[in-house]
Symmetry: C2
Subunit: 331 residues, 2 copies
């Protein structure tokens, strides 16, 4: 394993400590329950938004805490759901009189943890709603899910509800917006290589030198098929076709287009995929209204990429365009 890691059991706490040290004015780290939180949270005038999941998907979600997005993120260990009491303590610490919205990518372990946390928080009189994200079109059920997986599209849900919460929307309104964005968002990815969890020290699955995994999950779960290595255009065309057909997206639609890197793929390659996807959408008379190229939801050091489309309307586009200030930035 060639990684920047000390003792693998310290990998997540050391990363979280680094995030807080790099953002001393805006973020705090609470080691007792892996919490990265805004220093100005909770706010009485704003619904609190929290997302958690296994670690290894950075910048999701610990680097998307900040003004206009999350109030807090409580990750588990690498590819492991956060313990329910971490989520509960996070909700308690950040509870606002306007309520708490929990965002959860649809995986069995995360779902259990967040549902249990919601029950515990409600017993304390906190007003909590939970919203599940399931944008991955690759498979109907997967290794760790009943139903579709939540992957890079969760960025758009976080961004939209984050902007609406900042503008004063109440909890019911945030649930409506989040569900709407999720219902219009579709993603599919491909892996060129497996990823290596620090504690395992070896690749999570085997992929031949000339093989790729079409429809891979962000924990290395199987997708639709093992395919022979193909050109950038062939790969993005197949991913895009699957995404477009699923909603379906149609001529006249205006969309957000995201090419998300899975951790080990340089941004130069992502722009090659972006250019092709943009042109293929234009050929279908689908207009790209907003563009996103980079790493949003990764799978450790996996080489690969996913494509996400969001069917925009005026409301969603305005929320996506609102300012935000998070750790995942260049300056």
């Amino acid at each position: 394993m060639k990684k920047f890691v000390n003792d693998p059991k310290d990998f997540v706490p050391e990363m979280l400590k680094g995030i807080a040290l790099a953002n001393p004015d805006t973020l705090a780290y609470v080691p007792e329950f892996n919490l990265i939180m805004r220093k100005d949270a909770p706010r009485e005038d704003k619904v609190t938004i929290i997302q958690g999941s296994g670690s290894g998907h950075e910048p999701a979600h610990v680097m998307t805490v900040g003004r206009g997005m999350l109030d807090g993120a409580c990750p588990g260990d690498v590819f492991a759901a956060p313990p329910a009491h971490y989520v509960y303590e996070t909700a308690k610490t950040l509870a606002s009189p306007k309520g708490v919205l929990l965002l959860v990518n649809n995986y069995t372990g995360d779902k259990m943890a967040f549902e249990m946390a919601q029950e515990l928080a409600e017993a304390d009189g906190i007003n909590v709603r939970t919203l599940f994200i399931n944008d991955d079109v690759a498979v109907e059920d997967s290794t760790f899910t009943v139903g579709r997986r939540g992957v890079a599209g969760n960025f758009f849900v976080m961004k939209a509800v984050g902007a609406a919460a900042e503008a004063g929307a109440d909890l019911d309104e945030l649930v409506r917006i989040g569900q709407k964005v999720n219902s219009r968002t579709r993603t599919m990815g491909a892996a060129l290589t497996a990823c290596t969890p620090p504690a395992k020290g070896s690749p999570l699955f085997e992929l031949g030198a000339d093989e790729i995994e079409m429809g891979v999950g962000i924990h290395g779960e199987p997708g639709r098929r093992r395919a022979p290595l193909a050109t950038a255009n062939e790969i993005i065309d197949e991913l895009l076709e699957s995404v477009v057909r699923d909603l379906p997206f149609a001529a006249g639609d205006r969309v957000a287009l995201m090419i998300n890197g899975l951790g080990g793929t340089p941004v130069s390659e992502l722009y090659v995929l972006y250019g092709r996807a943009h042109e293929q959408l234009a050929a279908r008379e689908i207009t790209v209204g907003r563009s996103y190229v980079g790493e949003y939801c990764t799978s450790l050091d996996m080489a690969g990429a996913s494509v996400t489309l969001v069917q925009l309307d005026d409301e969603i586009e305005e929320l996506l365009a609102a300012p935000a200030e998070i750790a995942a930035r260049v300056f």
Copy 2:
């Protein structure tokens, strides 16, 4: 080779096309000489700033074109200097009556191309100055340089002169600021793996399963030594010690601290390095005033990282804090 690539000879133009398509309001692509330029350039009231280099270092420099940074970038092919006439045509296209500042990382090929372009542009009556960046402390001369190499620290030069130009500074003033930032900036990196240029199709150099290259260049040039794989703390401590001793940085200094990913290393690992570096600086009574964690200057898909320190003063800190709007962003 497992990459998102079509015909390797199209890799750079396809990437550049993607950048322009993703930023239709702000950037234009001129295929004839690999130019990515601001749509509002040249401006009569502002010195034009141009940087070019081989491709494969993205986001440097084609994704750092925009308000508050570069007016244009003219890259060569992967790890190859841009042809002199590309640089000349770029300078001519973007020439402002206030002059043109060319930024060049110190490599023999780039130096030749930019010096020739400056001569050609001056023959046309354009007021041109050239500024060389050489922040890499690893070696005194390298495979492609006489003198020190320019690496991730070039971000700070671009950012500082970009902000000053936006505020109306003249060409002499920009040269002064750029030289000052360069003289206070030091970097050193380590490679965990080699990188694979698309046209070569195989790793550029050999690195054993338990070996790392301390002081690697961003084109895979040799550094100070081959070392056995070590912990994250051991690696960053050695890099930081080399950087601190070089200027030297001293107790009481206020610095910008950058942990730059070389392309194949996930941001989670970069924050582990960041946390350690921040604490080690604190132990030396060196204060981190500004933090940068992510990819700024990469080496294709190389797994590895570099650490950069900039000795701040009020002028530099203000320029680094000024707003900018470039393609290398999350939203």
